[in-house]
């Protein structure tokens, strides 16, 4: 019963996550960008744009220039999250790839960094008046959700261990449509339930900033409007005289 419920939830969550993101990406990609609007100083070439996007996505360059505290906490959270996710690949892949083994010890530490970064961001939201002003219920709930996922995960690593071998069997079973029983461990069930919720919420929420950043015209356009005539969208008559 429990296994069936979680198995079905994860199928549903994965389907909603993937199709939801695919739908949004398709929407972003097919919506015309009628005019050239890079925020300058902008690179003049496509390769320059790739470098700019890389600096934005990997180092959060604009955020660094904007506010060092938000940058620090936000960057720590995202890098830690990436390490944690990589570490979790060992529960889905058999055999476990070498890089996952390398990441493993960092991934465990990253769990703390992730929760720490989130709590610091949350503190800013609560105690800096102008950030409190712009925060809505969903902003707080999103942080609560991520913190709860992090804390329940850390609790299984450092407190009440779960039967990790069975968990892996469950997920491999999900992937190969050969269901295996999920351990009836409250911490694990909370952790997995919240992760499924996060997956479902993703395509309906501000988490869309992840794919969105790649489609932002102010960042992904090259500053070459004098060198190359830009035709961004179908236009009415008289355009070509």
């Amino acid at each position: 019963m429990l296994t069936t419920a979680f198995a079905l939830s994860f199928y549903a969550a994965a389907l909603i996550l993937l199709s939801g993101i695919a739908y949004r990406i398709r929407l972003y990609a097919t919506t015309p960008a009628p005019l050239k609007i890079p925020t300058t100083p902008a690179p003049r070439t496509r390769s320059g744009v790739v470098a700019r996007m890389f600096r934005e996505v990997v180092f959060f360059q604009s955020l660094f220039n904007a506010n060092k505290w938000i940058w620090l906490f936000g960057w720590i959270f995202h890098v830690a999250l990436a390490l944690v996710v990589l570490r979790h690949l060992r529960y889905f892949l058999q055999p476990v790839p070498a890089f996952v083994a390398v990441v493993q010890p960092f991934g465990v530490l990253a769990g703390f960094a992730m929760v720490g970064g989130l709590l610091a961001l949350w503190a800013r939201r609560l105690f800096v008046p102008r950030i409190r002003y712009i925060s809505g219920p969903s902003d707080h709930l999103m942080l609560a959700l991520l913190v709860a996922i992090g804390v329940s995960g850390l609790a299984m690593t450092f407190g009440a261990h779960t039967d990790i071998v069975s968990v892996k069997a469950f997920f491999l079973g999900l992937i190969f449509f050969n269901w295996q029983p999920l351990p009836n461990d409250p911490l694990l069930l909370v952790h997995l339930g919240l992760v499924a919720a996060l997956m479902i919420i993703f395509p309906f929420s501000k988490l869309l900033h992840a794919p969105g950043v790649f489609f932002s015209p102010t960042r992904n356009q090259a500053d070459d409007s004098r060198e190359r005539r830009y035709v961004g969208a179908p236009r009415p008559r008289s355009n070509v005289v």
């Binding site: 919506t31 904007a66 712009i134």
Partner: protein
């Protein structure tokens, strides 16, 4: 409506960190509104004369259309995570302390309506995601706060996703125009461009008389017959410049500077009465169709005068529209000489001559000016000059340095791409918004005050007609002389030595006598 109600005393705010974050003053600027456009002004632009009966329904459907045809808007409606990076970046927030002037809050005025009608979460869980119905109160907020944004894009520099509030403001204003709620200032001006040819409504006769007067002045000053030709067919270059250049100070002094440089370069050039306006207020109201119509006038003038090149005078958003959009909206310009940038900025033109050693300057003529430079927002963050990334910062400064001995930059976090707006851009340069304009200029005035104290700066140069007009109006309120704002080409004009001029005789005489003394 619109009258300044605040007790803001600028002199109390002159000194301090230009980027100091104020304590929030909720609703402080809710009463700031521009005059509503009259039916005639609306209809001339293809909008309904007054607020339509079914405005709510129509506004929502227009929002849907805009999101469907603008990737920027669509992505920006979804992507904001409310991180707060932009909250202290807007000069209107810094100057007014009204939290709705924080870029994210301004965007959210539109975003909450977008959520309500176009997202699943906003439809079913509005309280959770901050979605709201488009009520009269929301519309009032739109009218107030989308007219407290100069579309300067300072926030977009700092946003981790490059969210550009200018795009959101433009969408907000477009929607309001579509339902018949336009702002008088911009819409009346666009109408004048369509009927008379320029923002100021100067008829051809007045234009001719002004130019003839300027020619006389220059000849009297230099002894050289420098021409300011109008509608001269077959000239090499069409110069398109803001109509303020024909009319007001310090703009006119800049126009004299262009004329001297163009004369000295030896190329033939002309102004056009049909395109006697570089400014394109279509961008301010977010109307691509109006922006295209204004742009077409420049193309038509270039074609009918059979020029080979296009040069723009000192105007910030005009340069943005010219540099970024002209070729898209009114191009292709394949009938122009492809060996030159299309279009070219007058600062690029002058700087090129300076680099090739074609211009001589007597810098001592500007010794009374200890200068700083105000990067205009649309030039700094939305366009380029020259071939190098950041040329829009280096080229105007190189021109100033060639013409002046004393130049000092303001603090690094207030110039270049971090520049603060003058506070009057984006269609806000109207008297009923004076309170907002004074407050919005506060960060820039503080940055200026610092170089005044540290380096004895006496004047600030700019390359934007709106900046120049705004500063000459509001600088006195901060204790500066109204003539402390100058045009870059005014400095060029003061120091340039035209071949065969009285100034050349004097300068060469001084050089010779200096040599003889040695």
């Amino acid at each position: 409506m619109g009258a300044a109600t605040s007790t803001f005393n600028p002199m109390e705010h002159l000194v301090g960190d230009p980027l100091e974050i104020p304590e929030l003053a909720y609703g402080a600027m809710a009463g700031s509104k521009p005059y509503v456009a009259a039916p005639g002004h609306q209809q001339a632009l293809g909008f309904p004369g007054e607020l339509v009966e079914n405005w709510q329904e129509k506004a929502i459907s227009r929002l849907g259309e805009l999101v469907d045809k603008s990737r920027a808007l669509r992505v920006y409606m979804d992507s904001c995570v409310k991180c707060g990076a932009c909250t202290d970046k807007c000069h209107y927030f810094l100057g007014t302390a009204d939290p709705k002037n924080m870029p994210v809050a301004r965007q959210d005025l539109l975003r909450k309506v977008y959520r309500r009608y176009f997202t699943w979460s906003g439809k079913y869980l509005p309280w959770l995601v901050g979605a709201e119905d488009l009520t009269k109160e929301v519309l009032d907020d739109w009218y107030s706060y989308f007219h407290q944004c100069s579309e300067c894009r300072r926030c977009s520099v700092y946003c981790p996703y490059g969210i550009d509030t200018a795009e959101v403001t433009m969408a907000g204003r477009d929607i309001m125009d579509t339902i018949g709620l336009g702002a008088k200032y911009s819409n009346e001006i666009i109408g004048k461009v369509f009927t008379v040819g320029n923002n100021l409504g100067l008829p051809v006769k007045a234009l001719k008389a002004t130019l003839a007067g300027l020619e006389d002045d220059i000849e009297e000053e230099t002894g050289v017959p420098v021409r300011l030709p109008l509608d001269e067919e077959g000239a090499d270059i069409l110069v398109v410049t803001p109509s303020a250049d024909f009319f007001a100070s310090p703009h006119m002094e800049g126009l004299i500077g262009y004329a001297k440089v163009l004369h000295e370069s030896g190329v033939s050039w002309t102004l056009s009465s049909h395109a006697s306006e570089a400014a394109n207020f279509g961008i301010f109201i977010g109307s691509e169709e109006n922006m295209r119509k204004v742009s077409m006038r420049i193309r038509e003038a270039a074609e009918s005068l059979r020029v080979k090149r296009l040069v723009f005078g000192e105007c910030g958003h005009a340069w943005r529209v010219a540099y970024s959009f002209l070729n898209t909206l009114a191009g292709p310009f394949d009938f122009l000489d492809q060996n030159y940038p299309i279009p070219q900025h007058i600062c690029e033109f002058t700087n090129d001559l300076i680099e090739r050693g074609k211009l001589r300057f007597d810098k001592s003529k500007n010794d009374a000016f200890r200068l700083t430079f105000h990067d205009s927002c649309n030039v700094a963050r939305a366009s380029r000059m020259g071939d190098d990334v950041g040329g829009q910062f280096t080229i105007p400064r190189a021109v100033l340095r060639a013409a002046c001995n004393h130049f000092y930059d303001m603090a690094a976090d207030t110039i270049h791409e971090n520049t603060l707006c003058c506070g009057g851009g984006g269609g806000l340069l109207t008297d009923e918004l004076m309170d907002l304009r004074v407050k919005g200029a506060q960060p820039r005035m503080r940055a200026l005050q610092r170089v005044v104290e540290d380096h004895g700066v006496t004047h600030m140069a700019a390359i934007c007609a709106i900046c120049k007009t705004q500063f000459s109006k509001i600088m006195p309120k901060y204790g500066f002389d109204m003539e402390s704002i100058v045009s870059v080409h005014q400095m060029v004009s003061n120091a340039i030595i035209l071949t065969g001029s009285l100034q050349a005789e004097e300068f060469d005489g001084r050089q010779t006598s200096a040599l003889l003394k040695v």
